[in-house]
């Protein structure tokens, strides 16, 4: 209040400058929205023109497949429990591939994340090359890696596991690093003041802080990996994906089996999600 008199001369300047800033900001926002709308409609019409079928003509048929699956499954509803049991072993194999890949990828990704986080990395010169390596791991689609490995090692769960684990290192390494970057560094400084090594500082100063967040990213990745592992079954990696490919083709009359497989996959994701949030809540509450 005391310096109100000295700022009163400032007032028109401050107000005009702020109003000018606001109108510039609004201009940019409007321009951005216009560009977005143009690109959206432009892109849509180009894609639709080049499409063999056409979006509007195909639209009514989109629900044909789900409708067929539901109606056939409803007809053979009595067989459903048996089918669920029949495909359960394949599901276990698929979940196993995903779990192994998430575990290996998560552990290696955690190490990688600490090596590429500014302020934590023991060798700052290695940050950029290691980050490019993580980019590379994320850039190559899992299915390409899996196909190469299946060609080299033969079909089965191991190529799928390696392919998914490589991708998981790339994505979890990046996500873990972003979490670690925003963790307060005071505990690390405290540990350095007692003469702790880099590994000790990370283990006690960073990991306990980021644990719950890392876990929730890892669990999300586990869900994604279950789906990825199911897809890799299409190209010969075994598991429930192989069964799904065989049952979901038109005209075989096996849609009831496909429905059973979809239900198994959905239930697995629900269980992973619920179980994961239970573990995470315990971990978070245990710290307070």
């Amino acid at each position: 209040m005391t310096d109100a008199a000295s700022t009163s001369a400032l007032r028109p300047g401050v107000t005009d400058a702020y109003l000018a800033m606001v109108s510039t900001r609004r201009l940019w926002t409007t321009t951005g929205i216009l560009i977005y709308v143009l690109l959206f409609f432009g892109g849509f019409w180009i894609a639709n023109d080049r499409n063999a079928g056409g979006f509007w003509r195909g639209l009514p048929q989109i629900f044909d497949f789900p409708a067929d699956v539901v109606s056939e499954a409803a007809e053979n509803a009595a067989r459903l429990p048996g089918l669920l049991l029949e495909y359960f072993p394949s599901l276990i194999e698929t979940v196993n591939i995903a779990a192994g890949a998430t575990l290996i990828g998560g552990i290696l990704g955690a190490f990688a994340s600490l090596l590429v986080t500014r302020g934590l990395a023991p060798a700052p010169w290695a940050i950029a090359p290691l980050r490019r390596l993580l980019d590379l791991l994320r850039a190559v689609p899992e299915i390409v890696v899996a196909l190469i490995l299946i060609f080299l090692l033969g079909g089965g769960p191991v190529p799928a596991l390696i392919a998914i684990a490589l991708h998981t290192i790339g994505s979890l390494g990046k996500l873990f690093s972003e979490v670690a970057e925003s963790a307060p560094l005071d505990p690390v400084e405290g540990l350095r003041s007692v003469g702790a090594t880099w590994a000790q500082r990370m283990a006690f100063g960073i990991v306990p802080q980021v644990g719950p967040n890392w876990l929730s990213y890892a669990l999300l990745r586990f869900e994604i990996n279950i789906r990825a592992s199911a897809i890799l079954g299409f190209v010969g990696a075994g598991g429930i994906g192989y069964d799904l490919r065989n049952t979901m083709s038109f005209g075989l009359g096996m849609f009831d089996e496909a429905a059973a497989i979809f239900m198994l996959l959905f239930l697995t994701i629900v269980i992973v999600d619920q179980g994961g949030s239970m573990i995470r809540n315990k971990l978070t509450r245990g710290r307070t």
Binding site: M1, T7, R11, T15, Y18
Partner: protein, 276 residues
């Protein structure tokens, strides 16, 4: 004007606020003092409807407010501004936007989300900032400001609401003595010039004595003192805080005041305090 009748708030098995009855007949600057956990914050949060009372009634100008719902509850909150110990601004938004948040009850959601604030409101926001002496900070992000400046932005947001009553929950507890004095004097000036009621939680006795017209002392959820600053003697203060004869309010004083002789020897030895 503001009437509390046996207001109680129960959290599990503990009674944070226990049958508090108060009557404030006209716009007054009221200070609430008491130890941590005495229920001061809970009482203020109930006035703003951030918490609902478990029992009892809160009435403002004859209207019961503790049972208001939905839009009416938000309407009351707009008339009864709140200032927090940790400022509670949006750190990544600029100062003027933070002040404009004071108009959110009357601004439509679409308008607020697209940040299309009316120019009149922007001008008003900046003139309030100017009144509080921080107009130069207008385009900066709130997080770039010092604690004292942030608290003044919070007061500006409160004034933007044009409230009938301002609640302040330990507004100076996170500030250094210099900024604490600026903030308290700002609140006092708002009370004197605008005639708004101010209810302020404080944990230093000298601040309460110096700035408030009426002081309410709370202990374990109950009101144990209600009177003028003159009636708040050291003996009464000991009762409020449940302290024994070793209690000295000078030990907790954070105020800059030209009175080094009154301070105990250990404090007076501090040159920084004595010099100002």
């Amino acid at each position: 004007m503001l009437t509390l009748d046996t207001v109680t708030k129960q959290f599990g098995t503990t009674r944070a606020v226990d049958s508090v009855s108060l009557d404030i007949a006209r716009p007054t600057m009221v200070g609430i003092i008491g130890a941590s956990g005495a229920g001061k914050s809970t009482l203020l949060r109930m006035l703003n409807l951030l918490e609902r009372p478990s029992a009892g009634s809160i009435a403002f100008e004859g209207r019961e407010i503790s049972t208001l719902k939905g839009s009416r509850a938000r309407g009351w909150q707009a008339q009864c501004a709140m200032i927090f110990q940790q400022f509670n601004l949006v750190p990544r938004m600029d100062v003027v936007s933070n002040v404009l948040h004071g108009t959110l009850y009357t601004t439509g959601t679409f308008r607020a989300l697209t940040a299309l604030w009316p120019e009149v409101d922007i001008r008003k926001a900046i003139s309030i900032l100017e009144r509080l002496g921080i107009a130069e900070q207008a385009p900066k992000r709130a997080e770039a400001l010092s604690g004292g400046q942030q608290q003044r932005v919070a007061i500006a947001r409160a004034l933007m609401q044009d409230p009938k009553m301002i609640l302040a929950d330990e507004p100076i507890a996170s500030l250094d003595p210099m900024n604490a004095q600026v903030v308290m004097e700002t609140l006092r000036t708002i009370h004197d010039e605008d005639g708004r009621m101010i209810v302020c939680n404080l944990h230093t006795l000298d601040t309460a004595r110096r700035y408030c017209d009426r002081i309410v002392g709370m202990r374990k959820g109950r009101v144990v003192f209600d009177g003028t600053p003159e009636q708040l003697t050291t003996g009464v203060a000991r009762d409020i805080y449940g302290a024994d004869g070793t209690f000295s309010e000078h030990a907790t004083s954070t105020e800059i005041r030209d009175r080094p002789a009154a301070a105990p020897p250990r404090k007076a030895a501090s040159p920084a305090k004595a010099a100002v």
